[in-house]
């Protein structure tokens, strides 16, 4: 088991330059592909934010403070997770040209996708910074917690994606299933509503109760990693609260475990992928 781990790090080191180059090249080709196409990296979340603002504010009369920043954070974070997983389902066949001609540890493709979508997420998050500036959101030292939270996001996304990628090779209608599951996940992650309460009750400050009745709300935040990550990013960035530490650590451990399992099955089966695609 220890040897496998070493192999992972060796492979990672060997193909790291390839990943960096491939990510840059893919982003560059997207920019070069059509004039101002990078503008969509901003326009996409911006337009969706308007859609959800309409639904939340007009239809459900929501009164969440700094709502645009609240939605951007949800959309951008979900975007990374959603896009990476969707891309992973057919990733091996999408890379057929490479897979059939040279050996690459297949989880490297997941890193590539994470790099591309991660970069787009960072760019899109400039919208969060912008909205926070417009609303003059008070910044606390707790913003530093976005670093460990982002790490958990990356680890969980990588773990899920590697496992999905493996099964995507053999199961031809997996994409249909995954699309539905992700759609459900989108609504259960509180992108445009707050699962958890915001602020502390009877404390004289802002207090907005969660939209999901207890104990369901609490369970949702605990069991759905995306709900947890999005909630906690908002807590540290917008509302000056601490993240749910215990659950964050727990999901980090689960994420590492999933990555470990994913890498292990890919190493075991990747050489038969070519025979199937």
């Amino acid at each position: 088991m220890f040897l496998k781990k070493i192999r992972f790090f060796k492979d990672f080191k060997r193909f790291f330059n390839y990943i960096v180059f491939a990510v840059k090249a893919e982003l560059k080709s997207e920019v070069a592909d059509s004039f101002l196409s990078w503008l969509w990296w901003f326009l996409d979340p911006l337009l969706y934010m308007l859609v959800y603002s309409f639904i939340a504010v007009v239809v459900f009369s929501s009164n969440i403070p700094y709502f645009p920043a609240f939605v951007f954070l949800g959309l951008n974070t979900w975007g990374l997770f959603n896009k990476t997983i969707k891309a992973s389902v057919k990733l091996v066949s999408a890379k057929k040209m490479i897979v059939t001609k040279v050996y690459v540890p297949k989880f490297m493709f997941v890193f590539e996708k994470l790099g591309v979508y991660g970069f787009k997420m960072v760019i899109a998050n400039l919208l969060v910074v912008g909205t926070m500036a417009i609303y003059r959101v008070p910044i606390t030292w707790r913003v530093v917690w976005i670093i460990p939270i982002t790490l958990v996001l990356v680890v969980v996304t990588f773990g899920v994606s590697t496992i999905i990628m493996h099964f995507g090779v053999f199961v031809e209608d997996l994409l249909n299933v995954i699309t539905v599951v992700l759609q459900l996940g989108f609504y259960l992650s509180g992108i445009f509503y707050s699962i958890d309460e915001i602020g502390v009750k009877n404390h004289g400050q802002i207090y907005i109760p969660g939209r999901v009745p207890e104990p369901w709300g609490e369970w949702l935040v605990k069991l759905n990693p995306m709900a947890l990550l999005i909630t906690d990013l908002r807590r540290v960035l917008l509302y000056g609260e601490n993240p749910h530490w215990v659950m964050m650590i727990a999901w980090f451990v689960v994420g590492v475990f999933m990555s470990f399992v994913g890498i292990k099955i890919i190493y075991k089966f990747e050489n038969s992928y070519v025979k199937v695609i």
Binding site: F15, N17, A25, K101, V102, V171, D173, V274, K275, V276
Partner: protein, 246 residues
Amino acid sequence: MSDISENAITVSDVKIRYRVFKKISLLKTILAPYKYKKTELFEAVKGVSFEVPKGQILGIVGKNGSGKSTLLKAIAGIFSPDEGEIDLHGHSVSLLSIGVGFQAKLSGRENIYLSGLLLGFSRQQIDEKLDEIIEFSELGDFIDRPVKTYSSGMYSKLAFSITAILETEIMLIDEVLSVGDAKFKKKSYEKMKSLITNTDRTVVIVSHSSDTLKQLCNTILWLHEGEVKMQGSCEEVLPKYEEFMS
């Protein structure tokens, strides 16, 4: 001359199987599970063993479907054998002429880097060889255009140039000994010949052309329906193979 005993490739009792059915579907598995119970296996390579000493050139012959290309791909590491072992003793390896696989949206230049990095070369090593690759490929200004705009001839010229100029210690050559137009064909054949005859390089060639093999190879491996039918020098094996095929 202790080098003679040093092997670059050791293939021992390798078996490679393909599953006949391709993919499964969750929906079909639920609705019609009995349809997927049969898993037929097709064995393309049935226990092949051989060794290639460092610097030697091995030719593999056999009729279509005898497992030549499958074996070559297994040596290249594209997939691993189901049984047995392939040991390259730490040498770098590439499948020549078919290229590493290009990303259609990216330019030829970027694809040179991607291919090189995939083959395990560093940025620096590729930088050094970049001009030579572009020159050899005869692509000119097209090198900065997306690969999807290339004709198939240009595509294979670039593919050949990359693998031919970024030299690996073991080269595997599958059939296509010449690509592109007549002029490039001659040039690539000469290049390939110089690569092959370099005494440091170990080469495995799969071909149907006895003439080519006679010119280039030290030893010949004859595969028939996934098994070794004969192995030996060109003079021993090739006449019998030709007789068998006629």
